[in-house]
Symmetry: C2
Subunit: 285 residues, 2 copies
Amino acid sequence: MIIDVNKKVMIVGLGLLGGSYAEALKRFGFHISAITKSQSSIDYALEKGLIDEGTTAINPRMIGEADLLIFALYPHVFVEWIRENQKYFKPGALITDVTGVKGSIVYKIQDMLREDVEFIAAHPMAGREVSGVENSTSRIFIGANYIVTPTEKNTPEAIATCKELGLLLGFTNVAELSPEEHDEMIGFLSQLTHCIAVALMTCNDKENMEKFTGDSFRDLTRIARINEYMWSELFMENRDALLDQMDLFLKQFVSLRDMIADGNMEDMQEMMRQSTARRALFDKK
Amino acid sequence: MIIDVNKKVMIVGLGLLGGSYAEALKRFGFHISAITKSQSSIDYALEKGLIDEGTTAINPRMIGEADLLIFALYPHVFVEWIRENQKYFKPGALITDVTGVKGSIVYKIQDMLREDVEFIAAHPMAGREVSGVENSTSRIFIGANYIVTPTEKNTPEAIATCKELGLLLGFTNVAELSPEEHDEMIGFLSQLTHCIAVALMTCNDKENMEKFTGDSFRDLTRIARINEYMWSELFMENRDALLDQMDLFLKQFVSLRDMIADGNMEDMQEMMRQSTARRALFDKK
């Protein structure tokens, strides 16, 4: 194990993910501190033994003692936090995050960061439909992907440490992508699907439809229950990659529409055969 | 109970749904016969005690003895079957079906049908991702909707009998809609969702995406594994209603795309709030 369990970990932003990180890491005996805006989150985490100490104010002593800092904040809050408080970091500290977009964040943070600390970005692809530290559980990491997105500024040691963190947290797959590859992938697999679900959920407000809903409609719209502040920000932070994916989908959907309008059964069936074949790749292994 | 258990039931088309009907009705002691194209389906159903007798050929004696006939065929096969074989029906027989589209079928059948038999249409909204009588089970009716779609030609007795059939089969909700209301509803809730899943599944064929897939993408594309012959036919039989629903979705999706392109956070968040509120209606009760 590269990471020394005597090192001190600080979690900035103690919500669903931050709390789940704390729970997973506490098992190894790490000293864990937390900064978050609500005192009740700190109280809950202390009571459950998820953290050793916590604060709602900027606490230079606590920040300065941390060897590894994990940021679980909204993207724009993250950038501001670093700008204002990096002066308190311990020299040699390692910083990582859970942000769901990378290209628009990673370079910005690395460019402004002090020379004596390193930021290695990661995206833990795990979550729940509920939020808050009270709902945190490291079970969400089982079967999930943890993606490290290094740049040229990162050292091999930091990349290896970040990958080990993913394994310690309990993620099943730990992978490495460039920030750009990550954003394209997430634009397609996660953001486009949320755009589709929201558009589907709001495109027809006829009454009583819910009485006849089957599983396929429920499955397609499960994620239509959405945190509007977080997702609108994630969409804007990944705007170009997301628009590319939306346009690919639009083109294909309009083709299918035209086939139906034209009664073109042959092409319709060919598209469905491709769909069936490609979907088989995506089954849970 | 309106339906006399001494009446004879015939199932035409012994696949997943036909077999599940047979299983559910056999519990009450009905005499059940079946006509289907494959002898192995008949053999399986006889062995499992789902039916009392079966044939792969048109058997005028068997058809002529049936009081209630249930058609579980592809739409165009259904219409042709009636045209060619209605001469064998017992006077006073009641005919129903499981067809997933109604407007393009119900009037056609009723218009060509002998005066002394009645067709009352129904759509059992249940299924599985696998097909064939070997996969049939009446468990698929639990929690599901059964929709009767009468026209002006139907008698109150036939409508009541058809609703009772839905309850005997074990459906949780039995409802009545006009063929047109049904087709709009199914165009939105079922067909549009399948079009979206197919377009999403085929719009980006980049390699290795499956390695990073999470549950939201899997949920949206579960139904992208699709029987191309059945669904292309269902789409064509409901073309106008489906195109209307596709256009409603397209309009909303393009609006969302424009909000993202324009950086219009306010409207984006408002659409997401509507989405969240409307989705709550569709939760399983």
